[in-house]
């Protein structure tokens, strides 16, 4: 997992996009980096107080 201050570089993001089958023009690559930093921060924060046996929610929430 990345550290708390990690800001993805354009090179890193371009590689990730390539693996996802996407190619972006440079101006959109910059925007994508900014949003990805926000998503990565959210993903890091999500990890608190999870136990080994905590199961995921699903679309079948109430059944």
């Amino acid at each position: 997992m990345a550290d708390d201050t990690h800001q993805p570089t354009e090179e890193e993001v371009a590689l990730m996009l390539k693996r996802a089958g996407l190619t972006l023009p440079p101006e959109q690559l910059e925007a994508c980096c900014a949003v990805l930093a926000r998503l990565e921060a959210a993903a890091r924060r999500l990890r608190k107080d999870l136990n080994r046996n905590d199961e995921p929610a699903s679309a079948f929430l109430w059944r």
Binding site: R38, L39, L46
Partner: protein, 466 residues
């Protein structure tokens, strides 16, 4: 007279239609005329189904005359967010990607409204695939807020649904809500918008944004009208894997029972002190709380998890699921999406599987925690938005990922929530609050909303569009 017909609520029009004091054909003609005169200024419709509407109105008239009145939605003019599939009628999701898409079948909610005798006036604009934001490269002009045509943004994403109801172009509309897309535009346009409990209303035939966060629900001028509409569309659907097999109550039955003794939790810590709302919004909310107290409810502050925890969960789940839905088209038809949607959608393809799973694991905790907090309350209230509708020019795609909104919390937990008008700011733009209920207890939040609306003057004020 025709304009007065267009400002009737569903609850007011239904007995007139039933008793044949009002003809469905007369009613529909009044609405079609008003759409023709006004919609070129607010762009709420992407398609007006004039011929089909007149055919349905005539059929309703014949049935009612023959004594076959179906109920309070019979002959009522409605519109559908263009994310909801209609058999033989183009359904675009407001995107060039689906510009020629004509579904073979109706969504379940459409079948149910047809069964209830509604008249479909057309398909309503929205943000692209419920996730974009207005951009000049789209096939239709941006929907305008009827309270300020010059610069009022309508929020997202059920924009056309909210504006058409506020402008008196439909009596009710359906919207969809993945992070606030019914409640935010309802708030900015001064109408009532209900996101039902996850599983209460079928999603079959509603083009998905995020399978596990999507809700479909009614938008109307009053909470009472939302209750009538919800009754028509709610209920188990075996074709929706998330549908709940539970009985549907009569949501109108207890609307007039008052709220004396109801315990209502007030959520302020979502925005205080770190994310202060605009002053008039906060003051209108505090005045609404005083009104609820005066009406007999017992209010006290309640503290839930931090807003950011819900927002983190929502953004990871929603963006990953959105990308999964659109992966093929985003790769193969990238240029067919609007620029703002591309900006929002692409990072979803970079979320790791493990991050998505952790978000869903955290979500289980948030759902359980919310149910525990509700043990002491019949409902909770909080702000719906931080302020009134912003200027269209102030809407930036980047905002979507910056300040957490106040509505997505309840998409994460699946609770029902309704946005209702709490007054107007000094420029005449509507303000709103959100009332949240226990799972499948839409009846209580509709009762609170209706009682508040009856006690306050806000439902008597419409946008000046003459």
């Amino acid at each position: 007279m025709p304009d007065e017909l267009c400002y009737l609520s569903i609850a007011e029009a239904a007995p007139l239609l039933k008793s044949r004091q009002l003809s469905p054909v007369e009613l529909i003609n009044a609405f079609l005329h008003r759409i023709e005169v006004i919609d070129s200024r607010i762009h709420s419709f992407v398609l007006v189904t004039r011929e089909e509407a007149l055919r349905q109105a005539k059929a309703a008239e014949t049935e009612i005359a023959a004594g076959r009145y179906r109920g309070p939605m019979h002959g009522i003019p409605i519109g559908l967010k263009d994310l909801i599939e209609t058999a033989g009628i183009r359904t675009t999701a407001h995107s060039r990607v689906l510009i020629d898409h004509i579904p073979a079948e109706d969504a379940t909610v459409v079948s149910r409204l047809t069964e209830a005798g509604c008249v479909l006036l057309g398909k309503l604009g929205c943000l692209e695939f419920a996730h974009g934001s207005p951009s000049p490269d789209q096939a239709w002009p941006a929907v305008r807020n009827p309270w300020n045509l010059e610069h009022g943004f309508t929020g997202g994403s059920s924009t056309g649904s909210a504006t058409a109801v506020a402008a008196g172009l439909v009596m009710g509309a359906l919207g969809t809500d993945t992070g606030g897309s019914i409640r935010n535009p309802a708030s900015f346009c001064g109408i009532a918008g209900l996101m039902p409990t996850y599983g209460r209303v079928s999603r079959r035939g509603v083009i998905p944004y995020s399978f596990s966060l999507d809700h479909c629900g009614p938008m109307a001028w009053t909470a009472e009208d939302c209750a009538i509409m919800l009754h028509a569309i709610a209920g188990y659907d075996p074709n929706d894997p998330g549908s709940a097999n539970l009985p549907v109550p009569d949501y109108s039955a207890a609307l007039n029972d008052g709220i004396r003794g109801l315990r209502i939790g007030v959520i302020r810590h979502f925005y205080e002190p770190h994310l202060p709302p605009e002053d008039e919004t906060r003051r209108a909310f505090e005045a609404a709380l005083q009104e609820l107290t005066k009406l007999g409810a017992v209010l006290e502050d309640v503290k839930l998890r931090e807003l950011e925890e819900y927002d983190d969960c929502k953004v990871i789940i929603a963006e990953a699921e959105f990308f999964a839905v659109h992966e093929k088209d985003l790769i193969e038809r990238y240029e067919d999406y609007g620029a703002n949607l591309r900006f929002r959608a692409l990072p979803g393809g970079l979320i790791r599987a493990v991050d998505y799973i952790q978000a869903q694991r955290q979500r289980t905790k948030l759902v359980a925690d919310m149910q525990t907090r509700f043990l002491n309350y019949d409902a909770m209230v909080t702000l719906c938005t931080y302020g009134p509708a912003p200027k269209m020019s102030e809407d930036k795609s980047t905002h979507f990922f910056q300040r957490p909104n106040l509505t997505a919390v309840f998409n994460v937990t699946g609770n029902p929530a309704i946005s209702i008008c709490t007054g107007f700011d000094r420029t005449g733009l509507p303000l709103a609050m959100q009332i949240v209920g226990k799972p499948f207890d839409e009846a209580t939040i509709l009762r609170i909303a209706h009682t508040y609306e009856q006690a306050t003057p806000w439902r008597r004020q419409r946008p000046a569009l003459a």
